[in-house]
Symmetry: C2
């Protein structure tokens, strides 16, 4: 019925209707309230609300609905009487789950708390109900199944939803309290990261993602058709961050996608993830860089703890984990100390060997036992296991001025002081057998005066996963990309 308008709806019959699509021919002054604002103080007010039908259940001459907005929900009632016909109750009972409705209703206090809803002290007595958008009757997954903790379902014969089904139907899965909480917290991480660095005098930069040469040796890089030639997707913004340092921005950060063509099908690898990147000139010692980064991380941890407790608790309901612990100042261990701890725990490995993933995890547990922290820095990696642009340790050429940072035993940042001298950089690239022609623009950046500098790149999804104690990075990527998943 193309003639139906919002104005008519507010003054005349009908009391229930499947609303036509283009219901915005005229503007209206009607105000929609929010579910979380429906508290006993609003009792007996007549309000308009737009929400999803979370559940609907007919019972004789009544229909009980649970109406939902994000993590908030409340009970609503259509009962046959002065204001509602039998037909209207039937209409309400037939509205499919996840449909979006507009209701005009009186707010009424209830005698017994409604334990199953976020608004436990009031319910709505519906006067009119209109369907704004109708959901198909068969949902690919049920929201209550998608938030059930693993294991809980099995005992009671109730279903849980496997991860691929969730990801295949992400638009529905995103509506769950768990997903809403995860991605609100992720938004918070980005904001805390930027606000902290902006306050410290860092400048935000935008770096290109399409690049002409695969910088780090050419492995694990995606190729792009670029008009009549080929290009690559940037594996990190590091070279561009460094050019900004050579360009006198002194301290820079960027937030953006990073691409890795690794055929790794693990719980912690994605082919596209969001990098939180930092680069800064320092005065005398690269530990100034480490201090800036750890201070930023601590500000993030505190911000999450202080401002996202609801989100943390919500995620914990489905995925229980210990609160995230950190120290001030941040614990910094040298690589040789870490190897000694592992040796003591019975691990056989060489002093200049890289850490395997299981050894990183074990080290995380040893550090947690000894220092009671889920966050620490491992400093002075062996030079041989780091990229060519890493500054060697001036006191010991077998080691380097480089570091990783760990949360709950998994790496979230890799960083280093960079070689800022074109000649040394050339020598190091030759040592790594890298084609100098391909990195000419990069090396040339250091020919016209470059300050000592360092930085690092943080994986956003890893930070969120590990802070919340989750076990799969696909839970903290809205639309994850891995070797087997490109859609939705």
């Amino acid at each position: 019925d193309g003639e139906f308008s919002a104005k008519r709806a507010s003054t005349a019959l009908p009391r229930c209707l499947l609303l036509p699509l283009a219901d915005n021919k005229q503007k209206t002054d009607r105000v929609l309230v929010r579910v979380q604002d429906l508290i006993p103080e609003k009792a007996d007010q007549l309000i308009w609300l737009r929400a999803r039908v979370h559940t609907s259940r007919a019972k004789g001459k009544q229909c009980f609905l649970v109406l939902r907005q994000q993590q908030f929900n409340l009970q609503a009632l259509v009962a046959v009487g002065d204001r509602a016909s039998k037909q209207m109750v039937k209409f309400a009972a037939n509205i499919t789950k996840e449909s979006i409705v507009d209701v005009e209703a009186f707010v009424r206090t209830v005698e017994q708390k409604i334990e199953s809803c976020s608004q436990q002290d009031v319910e709505l007595h519906i006067e009119r109900i209109f369907v704004i958008s109708q959901a198909e009757p068969r949902l690919p997954l049920q929201l209550e199944d998608a938030v059930r903790p693993d294991g809980d379902g099995e005992e009671e014969g109730r279903a849980t939803v496997n991860q691929d089904t969730k990801l295949d139907n992400r638009v529905i899965d995103l509506r769950t309290t768990t997903s809403q909480a995860i991605f609100r917290l992720q938004s918070g991480v980005c904001q805390l990261f930027r606000d902290t660095l902006t306050e410290k005098g860092f400048v935000e930069i935008q770096t290109p993602k399409i690049i002409s040469a695969a910088s780090e040796g050419g492995a694990n890089v995606f190729t792009v058709s670029y008009f009549k030639t080929s290009a690559y997707l940037a594996q990190s913004p590091q070279l561009y961050k460094q050019m900004c340092i050579c360009g006198d921005f002194e301290k820079v950060f960027c937030v953006g996608p990073v691409f890795r063509a690794e055929d790794s099908n693990t719980h912690r690898h994605l082919t596209e993830f969001v990098g939180l990147d930092i680069e800064m000139a320092f005065s005398y010692h690269y530990h100034e860089v480490i201090d800036s980064i750890t201070d930023t991380m601590v500000r993030i941890f505190k911000g999450l703890r202080d401002n996202f407790q609801t989100e943390i608790q919500t995620v914990n309901k489905q995925f229980p984990s210990e609160p995230f612990k950190f120290l001030e100042p941040t614990l910094r261990l040298e690589y040789t100390e870490a190897v000694a701890m592992l040796h003591e725990a019975g691990v056989e490995m060489g002093d200049e060997e890289d850490l395997s993933t299981p050894n990183e995890k074990l080290l995380g547990r040893l550090v947690k036992e000894k220092y009671d922290t889920d966050f620490y820095v491992l400093d002075k990696y062996p030079l041989a296991v780091r990229p060519f642009y890493t500054m060697p340790d001036p006191n010991n050429p077998k080691y380097s001025n480089s570091y990783d940072m760990f949360m709950r035993g998994e790496e979230i940042l890799s960083g280093a002081q960079r070689v800022h001298d074109a000649q040394l950089l050339t020598d190091r690239a030759n040592h790594h057998q890298i084609d100098l022609e391909k990195i000419k623009a990069y090396i040339d950046s250091f020919r016209y005066g470059a300050p000592p500098h360092g930085g690092g790149g943080i994986g956003l999804e890893r930070v969120c996963m590990l802070y919340l104690g989750l076990h799969n990075i696909r839970q903290t990527s809205m639309f994850p990309r891995d070797p087997k998943r490109l859609t939705p």
Copy 2:
């Protein structure tokens, strides 16, 4: 001399030295001051400063240096006497431009203002000078040439630098006062955009850039090799923003790269640019979306005007332009009004024809004359010239609930109310002859209840270019990508 350390430098000879690279074996408490803090109140203090050698000029037994940090600089002097040998003056005179030096010096007030420097009331009397990083003697461009206004050079026989030379040597060009100002202002645009939206309750999202299907018909899209298959680079985050709306985030924004494989070599096209994207559910009318976006833009304009005046003035020195004008509330014209204005100005075009670039520009001038604003919204575009997912105007099926926004007569945003009904979306896609199989995931997103919603995408580089009255988008992209430029 690998044995040289910072500690020794501060207590003993020598007084001038080319410092070895890895000069951070030990930590030091020495504090480096900033050039902008060197004011008469600091007179007669002995300070340490790290800066670039902007110029150096020997004159008898003296050497005058101009030392620079970003947009700040000051004069420094090495004179033969008690504290400096003839050799040291010679050493100072031979330091190449753009080298980075550490100096220990006394701050001295000057009798006559030094007009050529930002610090006009003081100079430094150098006690010791060390070269931290040596620039090659031959610079590919001179900073003073790179900031000279077009035309100024010609008359006096002085050089200007063409844009390709600047871009080829971006690390040097970024050091100019103009570039420093442009990219600090750009950083400000991003921050103002996000802060405004966060305050309005928007959630920041991260959307994938590698996608499985070219959403908008397949034209102008870059192809990526993705393991054993092919993928594409996202031409906009729009589909993902919309999925977030269907996923109940209600109001979302994102900042990230957008890729367009258009072989357009114009002053305003890039193949990769930064999109500032907004999407939101609205209550009753899509003008709620327009109001949110224009309010955000106005907040950006005011923030730039109030907090980036130094940057604006700096850019204006090289590229003069009129201050950017805007109205509150923002001017909104309907497409038919615009066509009438163009008709009146003698342009021949049909009512449902799209605006050509020259007509957009002309319209901008007509609007400026009539309303005195550099920013306005053009609403209700003909349906035929908009993408398939655009909501038709319920009052007139030839038009649509869509809009563009313009700054100084050039488009900076394109947006619309989106079709939120799977059936209508299917019909519209069929009408546009789009392969339904390829957009199945997108259409399916609307099958389980979707609120009315709309949004738009803003080009960051265009906003910066047009706000500053610049004439080429490559000036506001740090490392621009166009069909002919992939490097640096």
